[in-house]
Subunit: 539 residues, 2 copies
């Protein structure tokens, strides 16, 4: 067979070649920006050429600090096309974390949104390697800045050649992208993605039996492009020639619903918290969302009640997926087997609330102290993953050995696997509650609480206990309409019907909001502190 | 990223893991044989182990000489799993060709169907390397044979361990399979497929935007498993966990229609001649074929009239694909773009009768003496293909340099490419008719003739001409009911409405049948001889 490397540039080339007139639509704060794949291709080539002219060489890191929009998409293809590494920087990190990862990645250039420039300005004096800041803006002028000199993205592009020819003599295992995990503890850890990994991952997303990304789709990643490649949707959608909708800065639930309606979005992806606020919006106002053939949900477990609301109340198919920054991210996908389609609606929702099967190309297993767990839906073990788009180490980080052992990624997620092979995330290893030698799943309790009609959000954390070692405590945010109506007793009664007594939380605390990570996951470290404070106050 | 090789064994492992109870159904001459993926997996492992015990080592060639059935499928996975190379031998070759390819491949073992054993017996004394013959039979006894000793497949399997563990320490670029082209001239040429090529090819077949092979499918390859991996359908169907129907020995149109009906086949694949005879059968009898979501057709161009009959008369979606032994084979796939769905039925059929766009992962271009051809649907050039599942040479053959140059496979097919990028095969380079310095497409004339209601089959060949260098002559087989009704004048009148005068054939000869290659393509070399004979007789 030919020694044809799997390269990211082949994705954009196919879109230019076969779908030159399909559109990429970016929402800006002022208007909807539209460009075609033909135009996108020219701009990608110009950016690649201009970066080369600027002196960017193979292996150099080029950062992006940006929302989801077409310029970010251009960088997705242009930077790796010249052998450089695209470092997508999480815009929600603290100044300290930002400084750490930019210095750790040794970024030479940062492409930054005008709205986000102040965050870079405030830490610029601490950045060791950054030579050039290029501002992505819709305005014609270069924005005022405290920095000595910033370049204007559009002017920078004007110096590039729109007919620049992509290199073909690259190795597929060369690095293409770099993304840091949004860890809840410790310093962020970098994951390097190869061309090969990203191309195979895009193929996996486009299989009929997974998310089936197709030319017929209108793809809208709500998951940020700075977070694990926006789950590969920009790659897959470009390759297949799908229309793309990029929701731009500060997308509210109303903005998202309106975009789905007006641009006839068929497939969208994001974390549970996004869909929770979208559901709230759909309760308030009526939108025409029947173009949607699927919501992809991952990042953390989607509560049963939410899946039910989308599927049964709004008639929108909901697909649970699982992955992490280290897995590019798609590793598991939950789609009913043909044999399961005859089941009752409730049974089907039960299956859909699991994280699903390994996608073709990925291998998994789950182990505990007794070895591989039984596929009985009950025994718990840590999920291990391997495959061609799974990281094998963290970038220049001596913590790699904790997570990568014997050729497997140790995910830190505790799971069960049922008879059909469907994986269900039970907890993070470090969030499992060990009570009297037995394990209690905080996620099971959270999902049960969130299925109550009065509950908007719920998180369960462990508190130290003299006798039992650890005990669960629940933190609950009630929906506005229920705040004066529902109390602890109602929720206890609700839980008692579903759990053995020793699983019930020792306390249920009501809060106005729950602390979350930069990507919308519950921040359990902060929550534990908060709980400790409240419990101390109470006594 | 992890250095996880793409290996064929991962396909069967996934089916065992997630779809243990899905069935593979093989038609035998006596009954329908059914086994599950769980059973298949055990038998694959047993065969792999037994072959290793027999002394088969990495790189050894193991031949199959068989119809489409579950034992052939077992060999598909077992042989490459131990690093050996599966050589699928075309059962329709002449004794001379058979002897040549078995000696050229240096097969050590041949797995042969009982029905086909005589063909091997008759040449066995000329085979230099074959040490073991294993007969695949449904009978319990070893068949009588002129050979010194033959093994019984089922008894051979009994010695193998059904829990044999597949090796993971193989390189993905290692050879997995070997198949010889069914060339119409010269000795057959061998093509070696790597694990990587076959896995990527199976992924390409399973994309939503190509044939979308899925767990929900019931897949029936009519294309023989000895011919270019049965177009990869056994690989893709196994990987995705689809139910498979393998039509066994001597499948007639009636058998195929009955299998589609009773097993609810959703997707099937074969050459145009198969679908031509199936259409005839559907005219005779009524079958319930509404489970079919797609007929895949390739190998040679499907006539417009046939596509129209399937799509409009029988309401069966018809997909043109293009490939060759050298391309694993899927290279082009014809599926309407979303923008084309609003066109008239006739315009859509016109598009469907083209071979389509390069599938994701494959690059193409077409060149003539002026360089790359224009995408105007008119300029003709030779199609060039490259990508990770395209061969880069013929196996131990000094004719490689004719076909593989500058990193491209020169297909020998003359094509046009339209504004949308859809490729249309115009002719084989060697079948184009050069008349007075201009080119005439034999395929265009053939398709036009075959669209006439009276014509069953038509082929057009060139005959030497003193003044014009070459001129076309048509060879036509009329449908039985039209033999006494339709004559030359009717067909000339029909063609005159569609072509300029100098394209019209100098003669139209009526024949009882057209000579075909072992895979159902018109054998134009033989036809030219036949035409020469008839024309000389006439004058």
């Amino acid at each position: 067979m030919m020694d044809s490397p799997l390269l990211i540039t082949s994705l954009i080339e196919r879109a230019e070649n076969y779908f030159p007139n399909k559109e990429i639509i970016s929402r800006t704060q002022k208007y909807m920006h539209r460009l075609t794949y033909k135009e996108l291709g020219g701009r990608v080539r110009a950016l690649a050429h201009a970066l080369e002219e600027l002196g960017i060489q193979k292996g150099d890191r080029v950062g992006t600090f940006a929302w989801n929009h077409h310029r970010h998409l251009e960088a997705y293809f242009a930077v790796p096309s010249i052998g450089a590494i695209l470092h997508t920087i999480n815009i929600r990190l603290s100044a300290e974390q930002l400084t750490y990862i930019i210095n750790h990645a040794e970024d030479k250039v940062i492409l930054v949104d005008e709205e986000l420039l102040p965050a870079i300005e405030s830490i610029f004096h601490q950045l060791d390697t950054v030579e050039t800041i290029i501002v992505m803006t819709d305005e014609e002028r270069v924005p005022a800045s405290t920095l000595p000199s910033v370049l204007h993205y559009e002017q920078f592009l004007e110096d590039g050649d729109t007919t620049f020819v992509f290199k073909k003599d690259m190795e597929e295992k060369e690095a293409a992208e770099l993304c840091y995990t949004s860890g809840t503890t410790g310093k962020p850890k970098g994951v390097v993605y190869s061309h090969r990994g990203l191309v195979l991952h895009a193929m996996a997303l486009s299989l009929a039996d997974t998310s089936a990304v197709s030319e017929e789709d209108v793809s809208m990643p709500v998951v940020p492009m700075f977070h694990a490649n926006a789950w590969g949707m920009p790659h897959a959608a470009t390759w297949m020639g799908a229309k793309q909708v990029l929701p731009g800065p500060f997308p509210t639930p109303e903005i998202l619903a309106r975009l789905i309606e007006t641009e006839k979005v068929t497939i969208t992806a994001g974390v549970p918290t996004i869909w929770l606020v979208l559901l709230k919006e759909l309760d308030k106002k009526t939108y025409q969302l029947d173009s949607l053939r699927g919501i992809l949900c991952g990042g953390s477990a989607a509560p049963f009640g939410m899946i039910k609301a989308f599927e049964m109340k709004h008639n929108i198919p909901f697909f649970h997926a699982y992955g992490m920054t280290e897995t590019t991210p798609l590793a598991l996908f939950s789609k009913l087997k043909s044999s399961q389609k005859q089941l009752s609606e409730m049974d089907k929702l039960d299956i859909k609330s699991k994280q699903g099967m390994a996608v073709p190309g990925i291998e998994i297993k789950a182990i505990n102290e007794n070895g591989d767990i039984k596929r009985d839906g009950r025994e718990m073990g840590e999920l291990l993953v391997r495959g061609p788009w799974i990281a094998d180490s963290y970038y220049k980080d001596d913590r790699s050995d904790d997570s990568f052992r014997d050729g497997w990624l140790y995910t830190g997620d505790v799971v069960t696997i049922d008879e059909e092979g469907f994986v269900k995330i039970v907890d993070r290893t470090k969030d499992l509650i060990k009570s009297g030698g037995e394990w209690i799943s905080s996620v099971d309790l959270e999902n049960a609480l969130m299925a109550h009609e009065a509950v908007y959000e719920a998180a369960v954390v462990s508190v130290p206990h003299e006798k039992w070692q650890e005990r669960p405590v629940a933190c609950v945010v009630l929906k506005d309409d229920y705040r004066s109506i529902v109390g602890q007793q109602d929720l206890y009664a609700f839980l008692e019907a579903q759990f053995v007594k020793w699983w019930l939380p020792d306390d249920i605390l009501f809060m106005d909001a729950l602390p979350k990570t930069s990507v919308g996951k519950f921040l359990k470290t902060a929550l534990r502190e908060e709980v400790k404070k409240q419990l101390t106050k109470d006594f």
